[in-house]
Amino acid sequence: MLTCKKATRLLSAGLDRPLTPGERFSLRLHLVFCRGCRAFRSQIGLLREISQSFVRWGGDDKP
């Protein structure tokens, strides 16, 4: 069973490379039971959105 710490590593890696079927399976199973890691997943995804908005607004002059 995946630990939360390892799950966060896979969640981050999943934003940068395709996960293997084994990794996807263990992660999916872990997420069913772990709301902390579900929140972590959504927040690192939001970091990507936030970064894109940041760049869109020119880095130093926001709306």
Partner: protein, 179 residues
């Protein structure tokens, strides 16, 4: 923009040069653009391309400092969120952020975000920006900085975990400050 370019290129003069070039390139075709926000976006897009070009030209010549103490500090902080079994400490378990999209509309949120980027160790911030601001693939980042793929993933994970915690504490306030 200059700060961003300097950090990415690790060279003050070269950073200023690419910003200058980007602005000139943007002004060269100014008649195609209406509105201040659109112009800024456009200049930044040109700047990103110029930075990527410079990084690609430089290839592997970029100096990479070894893992600093700051990285170790970040890892220690991350470790304290977990118990001995590597599961979240009950108090430190991530909780959903309240209305994150509303935050993006607020000037102060961006100040917090910039501060969170500023406090990351320089190389960690740089790798994060190459990935999330410039949109480079991990392979390319690894090659440019002469890092192994697994090291790149470690750095990106460290950056994300650090920024997540920093925004949680600095803006969303959904977890106790002790975490």
């Amino acid at each position: 923009m200059v700060k961003f370019a300097r950090l990415q290129l690790q060279d003050d003069a070269e950073g200023e040069d690419v910003v200058q070039e980007a602005i000139e390139a943007a002004l060269g075709g100014i008649d195609r653009f209406a509105g201040r926000a659109a112009l800024k976006t456009w200049v930044f897009t040109i700047l990103r391309h110029k930075i990527v070009d410079v990084l690609r030209t430089r290839g592997r010549t970029v100096q990479v400092s070894s893992l600093g103490r700051d990285d170790a500090d970040m890892d220690d902080t991350f470790d304290t969120l977990f118990n001995a079994n590597e599961h979240w400490q009950p108090d430190c378990r991530p909780r959903p952020w309240g209305d994150p999209h509303a935050a993006l509309e607020q000037q102060q949120f961006w100040q917090v975000f910039e501060t969170c980027l500023d406090v990351l160790p320089a190389r960690t911030a740089r790798v994060f920006m190459m990935r999330e601001f410039l949109g480079l693939e991990t392979d390319e980042i690894c090659a440019t900085l002469a890092l192994t793929a697994s090291h790149c993933h470690v750095i990106l994970h460290r950056a994300r975990a650090g920024l997540r915690l920093c925004l949680t504490q600095g803006w969303f306030g959904t977890e106790p400050a002790a975490c």
